[in-house]
Amino acid sequence: MDWIDFFWAFVIGGAICVVGQLLISLTRLTPARILVLFVTLGVVLTAFGLYEPLVELAGAGATVPLTGFGYALGKGAMEGAMENGVIGAFTGGITATAGGVAAAIVFGYLNAVIFTPKTKK
């Protein structure tokens, strides 16, 4: 286990969240807009080859924030396009992120069935 990887995961992951916080605090963008913006940004940065170096440096620090979800989508679509052409361009993104999306749906549903929300204090 390499501690320097954890250092970069912390710094880069934290820094990406700070960008989100600045957008919320200074522009009053709602969280929903932040999430959409980040995922789209991740796809675009990946397309220009700008996100890959960040993933190599920071590992989970770059893949866990929602930009990393965009990265996985973008990378998957591009790889799919290389292998299977137009069909791959359509299937690549979702294939690469299928695990996370399916997990979100399954765990989301299960939690909703098991738990009920509580009033905030």
């Binding site: 009053r28 929300p117 009033t119 905030k120």
Partner: protein
């Protein structure tokens, strides 16, 4: 015909109706606030044994009306009219509670101004001879309002510093005609007049800054009231606004100063009174229930005991709509003023 109107917006009553009783039910956070000792019932569990918060809010509305009637030993069948509202779509709280109470009912929507709106209308109907006993009520519930206007409760995120917390509370007042001689909780409290507010909108679009959205309406109504009544602030012991919150109050004071009205130290805001600063509610409380419970639990009792003799109760409403908000519209505000006197 006797002239009961002054100017365009203000009414005065020939035979001022009395507020004979008030009742309040609140959630536990309101109960832990500075006014905790004044409420009739504090709910430990804000679902109150129901399976949804909407049903709990309905129960609060119904029970607060029943409690006010009990204080005058009256049955729902003796009430001529129920006036009330809440914040939910199609005012389901008031409508469904009225189904249980079976009192002739007029549903009102004035957002957080509903308590003043119902008192004003009820008094006008009594003074006009159209009703003898009128029950007025308003409710709001943090958890039903949150899901309708904002985000699911379990969603993580921060509130902005101008945000206000919707009060979980139901308040009701029982209005009776001046000559009423039956049992009563209050013997000295009269509604002598009021001013119907105009919808005022200075283009605030931030749904987390309702105080600023409502302040212009409050200033507009106060200015109209003082002008048409030919009074000054010093004629009142207290000018009480509904739920401007701390920042909204600041803007209200400034707007009044612009109009040449000096509030000096006579302004109080229910949104600032109901919670402690330590309760982390940003700019204070809001919602129909905020002014409804502060009035009925605290202000009327203090007045009955003689702490003050004339107040202008001005509940403020932010007439916002998630749909209009998403379409980019700003938040219109309204404020209705009711003159409540001790005699």
């Amino acid at each position: 015909m006797k002239q009961k109107r002054l100017g365009r917006q203000t009414v005065v009553f020939e035979a001022p109706p009395r507020i004979a009783a008030g009742a309040t039910i609140v959630g536990d956070m309101e109960g832990a606030g500075p006014l905790g000792g004044y409420f009739d019932l504090i709910l430990e569990d804000d679902t109150w044994g129901e399976d949804t918060w909407e049903k709990a809010e309905r129960k609060m509305f119904e029970q607060t009306v029943r409690r006010a009637l009990e204080r005058c030993a009256m049955q729902p069948a003796e009430i001529d009219l129920l006036l009330g509202g809440d914040l939910l779509n199609q005012i389901i709280t008031a409508n469904f509670a009225a189904r249980e109470l079976a009192i002739p009912f007029l549903g009102l929507y004035g957002a957080c101004s509903t308590m003043a709106e119902s008192l004003l209308l009820g008094s006008m109907l009594i003074d006009g001879g159209y009703a003898g006993h009128v029950a007025c009520a308003a409710t709001s519930h943090f958890s039903t309002a949150e899901r309708q206007y904002r985000f699911p409760l379990e969603m993580g995120g921060q509130t902005t510093p101008t945000a206000q917390r919707t009060v979980t509370g139901a308040g009701s007042s029982l209005l009776v005609e001046a000559g009423y001689a039956g049992g009563a909780q209050f013997r000295h409290i009269f509604v002598t007049g009021g001013t119907i507010g105009r919808v005022v909108d200075l283009g605030i679009t931030d749904a987390n800054n309702m105080g600023a959205a409502m302040a212009p309406a409050a200033a507009d109504t106060l200015a109209a009231h003082l002008r048409e009544q030919n009074r000054t602030v010093s004629d009142y012991d207290m000018i009480v606004t509904g739920d401007l919150g701390s920042f909204g109050s600041e803007m209200f004071n400034e707007l009044c100063r612009d109009k040449g009205i000096d509030l000096s130290d006579r302004h109080r805001d229910c949104g600032n009174m109901i919670f402690d600063l330590a309760q982390k509610v940003d700019c204070g409380g809001s919602g129909c229930g905020c002014s409804a419970v502060t009035l009925n639990a605290f202000l009327l009792r203090r007045m009955e005991e003689g702490d003050f003799t004339r107040m202008l109760f001005m509940a403020t409403g932010a007439l916002m709509s998630p749909t209009a908000g998403m379409q980019g519209d700003s938040i219109p505000g309204i404020a209705h003023a009711v003159v409540i006197e001790r005699r």
